[in-house]
Subunit: 271 residues, 2 copies
């Protein structure tokens, strides 16, 4: 029988941790002095402690370990739990690897361009969205103005009000300055009858890389630039039309309001 301090030295597990394991019911000392409260361990309990540590290494929580130690665990159960830990560990390896890639791409960016981009790209999941839209080819993006007029008139006439922020889909692959295949969209809650020009569709939920452009449209190219580089550097592939979401739409037509806030969203997949 040895006291907690010696047990701790032998096992290289802190006294605090041992007391915690006692409290959690993972490893009770074989006896506790009735008067002093001193915990007394047997050497043979080091084997139990080793089992606890080994399970911890495998990624089990202390609570799970407690159950594993109590229940004479069947092999099948054990196998199942290990499989679970396996996928989790896999997942975390992936995450950390991606994090590492991102860090390295940032470092490269600093080395090469010697500055920090004003655009930060983040990945998020957006929900499916139902919307009414007009699609057409315009000479340059700013010329989508009339399409907006057309769409809004149509909605107003049918007393339908958009249920969220409007956006434009760019159907061309890659960036294109002229003859752009654009689709201007207003999100919808209820129903709407279509016409030859106005269609109702649903965009599926997606994982998108996005960045925020603060300022007038004339400079939005920088944002496209930044997000494009980021996708490249971090190994993502574009898998659908990009969206320009007009969070705080321009007040004066579509051009030069400096308070405009626009979000760029690119549906992506890991390359």
């Amino acid at each position: 029988m040895i006291r907690i301090g010696d047990f701790s030295k032998l096992s290289r597990v802190s006294v605090k941790a041992l007391r915690y394991y006692d409290e959690m019911g993972l490893l009770k000392p074989v006896s506790v002095d009735r008067f002093t409260g001193y915990r007394l361990y047997e050497y043979s309990q080091l084997a139990v402690l080793n089992r606890i540590l080994a399970l911890k290494e495998l990624g089990f929580s202390l609570e799970e370990i407690g159950r594993l130690l109590d229940d004479g665990l069947s092999l099948e159960q054990m196998r199942g739990m290990l499989k679970l830990r396996q996928t989790e560990a896999h997942q975390r390896v992936r995450e950390e690897t991606e994090r590492l890639e991102r860090i390295e791409s940032r470092l490269r960016q600093i080395e090469q361009e010697n500055n920090m981009s004003k655009y930060d790209v983040v990945i998020k999941n957006v929900e499916a969205i139902k919307f009414a839209s007009v699609r057409d080819v315009v000479q340059t993006p700013p010329e989508q103005g009339p399409l907006w007029g057309e769409l809004e008139d149509y909605l107003a006439m049918r007393h339908v009000r958009p249920s969220g922020v409007c956006f434009t889909l760019y159907h061309d692959e890659g960036f294109k300055e002229r003859d752009c295949d654009v689709e201007v969209c207003e999100p919808l809650d209820g129903d709407l009858t279509e016409s030859t020009r106005i269609k109702v569709q649903t965009l599926p939920a997606a994982t998108v890389a996005c960045t925020i452009h603060n300022g007038p449209f004339v400079t939005i190219g920088e944002a496209y630039n930044a997000i494009g580089k980021w996708l490249d550097a971090n190994g993502y592939r574009i898998v659908g039309p990009s969206r320009e979401v007009y969070l705080n739409p321009a007040k004066d037509g579509i051009q030069n309001d400096p308070n405009t806030v626009t979000e760029l969203q690119f549906p992506i997949e890991k390359a």
Copy 2:
């Protein structure tokens, strides 16, 4: 100006998190209604939030992010912090990969042998240790008894008492049943003059894989077996003599006490 719920929907960051960021000083709403306490955000703050999220992805804590946002961070500083994160991320990738390996080796073990080993192997760091010892070649391990007598007599004559648990070093590479090069050791605190047979040395601190054998010595082969397999399966290399640590030494000479507790320690390196 939008309320927290809408800001949350646009950013896909929970309301709780936004309030927390406010409290931490990371992202204050541009205004707070004096009467209702409602937080009001600007669309343009989505860019700040994106920066926060991007830094979080890189592995920074919220506190660090706070400082990064406040101090107009110099590029050099940023580079330094990124380098730090980089090594950390590297470290974690390694850890998770090793965890994954261990899980997979356990799974293989279950598939193949259809049972769970009674021996759990854990890795720990042991400190340097000074000791007195006798080294000799014995026909079989159990025949080290006389060496123990020799060592203990020597210590007793010089009124030196061991300062910890005794152990044996096995200097042979691999497992050997006969003509074993063993060294029986008693840890020491103070000084001791050497003789031709008795030497004083210091084992350096080391990383060891260890397992606990509960029971008589005759069955200790199983423990060696288990630890050997484990090292193999998890990609470790033995880099020094193994130690047999007699935690709860046998009472009857050295053979058959069932309450004996012995720890096997193998100094290792990742292969």
